[in-house]
């Protein structure tokens, strides 16, 4: 049997010392559980084929949409449907858990942004 171990999110976040650089915390059904620290402004982008889920574990961030802005606190989450332009902004540091297909790239349609991350590290 494959080894099944629990994942302690606080411990995993403790290994992260940069921002906007998602790591893989778990994989299932072709989807990935990713975690990242957010701070400052990200870029406007959208994902052509993938919906994204964001859950705040600690801190706070704002999900800017073209027609409004949603403030997310710990224990709050949001689903951004495919095709919807969004820009996360974190005035303070936020620890965020995401669910999305293994194929999702963080900057979506901006494939060559300096913030684009591929080949994510597994924690």
């Amino acid at each position: 049997m494959q080894t099944i171990e629990k994942i302690n999110l606080a411990e995993k976040f403790g290994l992260i010392n940069d921002y906007w650089n998602p790591r893989i915390a778990g994989e299932l059904n072709g989807q990935q559980v990713k975690i990242a620290k957010f701070k400052g402004e990200f870029e406007w982008h959208h994902h052509e084929h993938e919906d994204e889920f964001f859950l705040v574990i600690s801190g706070q961030f704002e999900m800017h949409l073209r027609d409004k802005m949603v403030v997310l606190n710990p224990g709050e989450c949001i689903v951004i449907p495919r095709g919807v332009e969004h820009k996360p902004v974190a005035p303070v540091e936020a620890e965020v858990l995401m669910f999305e297909p293994a194929s999702t790239v963080n900057t979506g349609n901006l494939e060559n942004s300096e913030r684009t991350r591929t080949n994510l590290e597994k924690l």
Copy 2:
């Protein structure tokens, strides 16, 4: 544009007054974000084709596997791969977020258990 609203997990859990009865908190990419309160013992079961992800939001539960038991506290999560027998046991009430395919039934191979839930309510 479709309406995009945040989901406050504490508020959603406040609407739940029973145990082992998952509700749908969000949907994306053919997967569902489900939430449920656990208390007491569930049944041994497995899922033939689906991996499952469990994250403790509050309380605590034990994930019993055939060869060991894993205690999960708030901020801790676990992936149970398809085919692996498991039995969640919650000595105290636990609030749990799950991520799994829309097709996943809570009792897996036990299709007609009294605890089987299909046509889940959306919160």
